[in-house]
Amino acid sequence: MTPYFNAVATTLYSIFEGMAVTTSYLFRRPSTIQYPNKLEKPLEEQLSDRYRGILQVDTSVCIGCRICEKTCPIDCIAINLEKNKETKERFLTRFDIDISKCMFCGLCSENCSTCAIYHTKFFNGATQNVDELVVRFVDSPIVLYKHRKDSDPKTREKDLSGVIVKQKMVKQRMKKQKTAKQEMPVNKISKHKIKEEIL
């Protein structure tokens, strides 16, 4: 008989204790961060500086050693170098990173001797088109950086918030949309023209 009543007592007591815990949470602060529109401070500030977000490349300090390209386990960095035969200057003509493939592992940025490639805190780069996620950091050939004794490129100011790469991605998207407009079907263009003529 005792186990029978003991069971009743322990059940009721454990429910009582559980209820006290849940009730106390009605007076305790919720831990939700109301992303994206009710943040106390911007999310980028809440992330640690080591956060491994979308990669950014400062092409002005890249020495063209291609270590990042080689260490990347999934080959999502593509670098092209060219050499001017007369002046013997070397140029960086292509530095693409395919963010859609990148797994943000940090192997590439770790080995860069000038910190030209580094992770920013920018993480929400969603687009509607996968092709847009290939970020091209070189628009026109850039002369490669050479190590100088007086300056250490590692200590320079970095764009950790990722504004530059964000703008770059937006710009690329706009460009794509523009070219898409030019390739519009003929009848639509003619309709536009008619409208313009009327106006």
Binding site: G18, T22, S48, Y51, T71, P73, F104, C105, L107
Partner: protein, 383 residues
């Protein structure tokens, strides 16, 4: 159900006309990922439950043969997404023992700290998800809140919240600052009373206890025969922990217990034992963390390792005590810069084999509790 799978069902299981074949998963809320169980039931009572794995197979072992030794580290994160640090650890241990690299002491301590934090995070999910499977959703969310603190610390240590890629061959990738050490201390101060609160909320709740006690009992003999590892094995009362038996890293410098199942509320080796062993292990991890933080020496965090690592023909086996038990990697090198063959041994895969044995005579709801208490993670089963 395809004809080809029917042949695995026992003939006598299909002899009764009263029985029903139930396909549980792969899109079932409580199978912890994409798992499939072929359940033969008579009403609520299960006659046979066949686990059907392979829905999440990604060929990680094969991928290792095509990437360099260092380049494979990010892939090990994906073996077990809840406890990525252990896969990191066992892989670098294997490579280091093949290449005969000495790891600096500070790096070893950092590894232990990261691993123990990860063990807490992983056990939080497993115990919370078990409560969720039993029907209480609040404990799970409370644990998620605590895990979020750990994730923040992890983010400060290595820059990612889930796929850490923290360890490197010969050390770790980043050092920790005094601020992070303070943060971990603060977190532990906050977390240890919360464990008791959690116990009051759910662990000692009589309904919860009765759902788990005396359910799906795995005897110690069975546990060994089926190759269970980690908390599942310890839940059956067998003291077996790689950290104590083959101390790797610096685990021999710490003083900690191995909690084992004692039949806390029911009999030895039931679901409640497996559950409660995890709760006790969380406490042990906290004490290991405190010891590691107070003893951490100064020094390098990474040994000198060639960038293009080539290892002469050799083979080795390394194992760690992961959150889901012994996780081992068998690595064969052939003199090139890539592994010749990598075999990964995980705890969840062996845990799946026992489901068929113990599930006979359980109820459908008990099967859910059994899966939850075994703490299987689908990507770890299939790799």
């Amino acid at each position: 159900m395809p004809e080809s799978e029917l042949k695995y069902l026992k003939p006598q299981a299909l002899a009764f006309k009263e029985e029903m074949i139930l396909n549980m998963g792969p899109q079932h809320p409580s199978t912890h990922g994409v798992l499939n169980f072929l359940v033969v039931t008579d009403g609520e009572v299960i006659h046979q439950a066949l686990p059907n794995v392979g829905y999440l197979h990604r060929g990680i072992e094969k991928l290792a043969e095509q990437t360099s030794y260092t380049g494979f580290i990010p892939f090990t994160d994906r073996i077990d997404y809840l406890a990525a640090m252990f896969a990191n650890h066992v892989y670098v241990l294997a490579v280091e023992s093949l290449a005969e690299i000495e790891v600096p002491e500070r790096a070893q301590f950092l590894r232990v700290i990261a691993c123990e934090l990860n063990r807490i995070a992983s056990h939080l999910i497993s115990t919370g998800a078990l409560a969720l499977d039993i029907g209480a959703s609040t404990p799970f969310v409370h644990w998620i809140r605590e895990r979020e603190c750990i994730n923040d610390i992890m983010e400060a240590i290595c820059g990612a919240r889930l796929t850490y890629s923290y360890m490197r061959v010969g050390g770790v990738s980043r050092d920790i600052s005094q601020k992070i050490v303070d943060d971990i201390y603060k977190f532990l101060d906050h977390f240890e009373p919360i464990i008791d609160e959690y116990n009051r909320l759910i662990s000692f709740n009589e309904i919860f206890v009765r759902r788990l006690a005396d359910v799906a009992i795995i005897s110690p003999v069975d546990a060994v025969n089926f190759g269970l590892v980690g908390p599942n094995l310890r839940g059956s009362g067998i003291t077996m922990d790689i950290r104590k038996i083959i101390p790797y890293s610096v685990y021999d410098q710490f003083d900690f217990d191995i909690p084992i199942g004692k039949g806390f509320k029911g009999s030895l080796g039931d679901c409640y034992d497996r559950y409660f062993v995890r709760i006790l292990e969380i406490k042990e991890s906290c004490s290991i963390l405190r010891q590691a933080l107070s003893q951490i020496p100064k020094g390098d965090i990474k040994a000198k390792v060639k960038r293009k690592l080539k290892i002469k023909e050799n083979e080795c086996y390394a194992c760690v005590e992961s959150a889901r038990g012994e996780m081992g990697m068998y690595l064969v090198s052939d003199g090139s810069d890539r592994p010749y063959r990598l075999k990964i041994k995980t705890g969840s895969f062996t845990a799946m084999s026992i489901v068929e044995k113990v599930s006979q005579g359980l109820m459908v709801a008990d099967l859910i509790a059994l899966i939850g208490s075994l703490d299987v993670v689908a990507p770890e089963i299939d790799r």
